[in-house]
Amino acid sequence: MPVEDTSTKRHIHLRDRVQKPAKPIGPDDSSDDGDGPKRPKVDKPETEELLRRMRRVDKDQSRRYRQRTGE
């Protein structure tokens, strides 16, 4: 995602406050048709590209990752 270089920043016309988003549509609440736990009725993210990105993750990066304590 391109980010403006501070040395060549554009002067952006000042805008009003960020407006709150429109009221979102609620989740599908159609009734269940049987006993026992059901798969949630929600549009799940597409998995193919996600899995590709996850497989590229270095398996050892968490082992190597060490930080100093902050606040």
Binding site: S7, K20, R63
Partner: protein, 504 residues
């Protein structure tokens, strides 16, 4: 809600090499990469006092993580002065970017509007990623930044939400009213963590919990932030008129990637502070052993989130949050700012958490992360304590949109957003118009060569050899802020600015 709010985030930093990197060195160099050519150190450290406790005393010492003793000789080898190590930058959007101990920290401009704050929080990510890209090019190695709260080895770092509030609310009432909310807020504000740890290190690697920070709280209230952490932090640095205001310095929250999570976390907290200022929180919300309850809720695999109150009753996090929500619906004006959005979303989230939490995969960080990890476990047939899975949990927080797993979800349209990329890009260089951040940021933009020093509550100019300070304490009042900002916009010179503000 109608108060100044802000977020300070410490980022994790590393390089993609086998060798361990010095995060202090990398953090210094990262911040330096964002300097303008005319950079001069200007942050005014006088008046900063993290030892001052709002209960009316000054702590003798601040506790440090035991591991810090191992780093003393390494720290002494850094040739830079204190000021150079801090590398403080005051940005034209009113924010502060600096090295806080061993983490790049971005403190947003003060905002009056909730969605301005979300845009500014995300602008911080963009700015830091730009720094990482520049530094990576120079090093010929990848600099990686994580917006999270742990290294899974017992070292935590913070994402602090800040709220300017009335000083005259009695401390004990404030603490007892807010702690139950903070203990239970994680059910929608938690960023999720794979593993249970303590400050000594990982205890149970394969257990998923909903909060990153819950493991690290050991006391109810104190001025500490780095060891023996409190749920309620008592640091007394209002950066405003100390007779009128306190700055509620919230250290209990997780660093959220989801814009929606951040908005609901901060928005609901701001409304609870409104209720506290109206003295509407009853005393029967008090939690027994809150440092235990916050961990039990985080680690509860059933998502029932039960715990006990001081009056002996058992309740759930959802029920207690509902009680806060009902008070807010009953007593607060929904037409005040973003209150209507916060009330509607708070209610919708609690209802959904009660029915089926995993339906919130498009809004809540801990749910989205758990869904990703579950999907990978099922696909690859690995176990939950496989180190690869913890690496994926960490990768959720990589702020590089090309690599981070949160951003993979966002880019395919799977995450509900509350601001646009245009709004975030605008916030990278532009302060909110309606707070004192505008005065700070635009002063840097227009008159940097004549500025002597900057703090949250004042800016100091050099006017023909005379040092003139503009005290911004009064600018916590939006009307006064607007007046000062208007004068600044119209002033062609510092002299004209000072004259029109009638400052001696």
């Amino acid at each position: 809600m109608n108060r100044l709010i802000g977020i300070e985030t410490e980022y994790g930093i590393t390089l993609n090499t086998e060798k361990e990197c010095d995060p202090v060195r990398e953090s210094i160099e990262l911040i330096k990469s964002y300097r303008r050519e005319d950079f001069r150190p200007m942050w005014d450290y006088k008046g900063e006092d993290p030892f001052r406790d709002e209960r009316g005393f000054r702590a003798d010492t601040l506790h440090e993580h035991p591991d810090e003793a191992d780093y003393q000789s390494m720290d002494q080898q850094h040739p830079e002065s204190f000021v150079e190590i801090k590398s403080d930058l005051i940005l034209t959007n009113g924010a502060r970017l600096y090295n806080d101990h061993a983490h790049p920290e971005y403190s947003t401009a003060e905002c009056q509007n909730l969605f301005d704050l979300i845009a500014h929080d995300k602008a911080g990510e963009r700015i830091l990623q730009q720094c990482a890209d520049r530094r990576s090019q120079k090093l010929n190695k990848d600099v990686i930044l994580y917006k999270n709260n742990t290294d899974y080895k017992g070292h935590s770092y913070g994402c602090h939400d800040n709220y300017l509030m009335r000083r005259d609310i009695p401390f004990d009432y404030l603490k007892e009213s807010l702690i139950p909310f903070l203990v239970t807020r994680q059910i929608f504000a938690g960023a999720g963590k794979l593993g249970i740890e303590s400050e000594k290190g990982m205890i149970s690697p394969g257990s998923y919990q909903i909060s990153q920070r819950a493991d690290f709280f050991q006391v109810e209230a104190s001025v500490d932030t780095m060891h023996k952490r409190p749920i309620f932090n008592t640091r007394d640095e209002p950066h405003a008129d100390p007779q009128k205001y306190r700055r509620l310095h919230g250290i209990a929250g997780d660093a959220n990637m989801s814009e929606y999570s951040t908005a609901l976390k901060v928005g609901s907290t701001a409304l609870v502070i409104d209720l506290i200022e109206l003295r509407l929180i009853p005393d029967n919300f008090a939690v027994i052993e809150p440092t235990e309850a916050i961990k039990e809720i985080s680690r509860d695999q059933t998502c029932r989130w039960q715990f006990r109150l001081k009056d002996g009753k058992t309740t759930t996090a959802i029920d207690l949050q509902r009680q806060y929500l009902e008070l807010a619906k009953q007593h607060l004006d929904p037409n005040n700012g973003e209150t209507d959005w916060i009330l509607a979303e708070w209610e919708a989230i609690l209802n959904q958490l009660e029915q089926e939490p995993m339906e919130l995969v498009d809004r809540i960080d801990w749910v989205a992360k758990k869904w990703l990890l579950t999907t990978f476990v099922e696909e690859e047939g690995i176990k939950w304590d496989d180190p690869w899975l913890q690496s994926l949990a960490l990768q959720y927080h990589d702020i590089d949109p090309e690599n981070g797993l949160y951003y993979a979800l966002e880019m395919q349209g799977s995450m509900r957003r509350v601001v646009t990329d245009d709004q975030i890009n605008h916030a990278i260089h532009n302060p909110p118009k309606d707070t004192r951040a505008y005065f700070r940021g635009k002063s840097i933009d227009k008159f940097t060569n004549q500025m002597e020093s900057v703090q949250w509550d004042h800016v100091t100019f050099n006017l023909n050899g005379k040092v003139v300070s503009v005290n911004m304490n009064k600018l916590a009042d939006p009307e006064i802020a607007e007046k000062y900002n208007r004068v600044l916009d119209q002033a062609q010179t510092v002299e004209e600015l000072i004259n029109k503000l009638d400052i001696e």
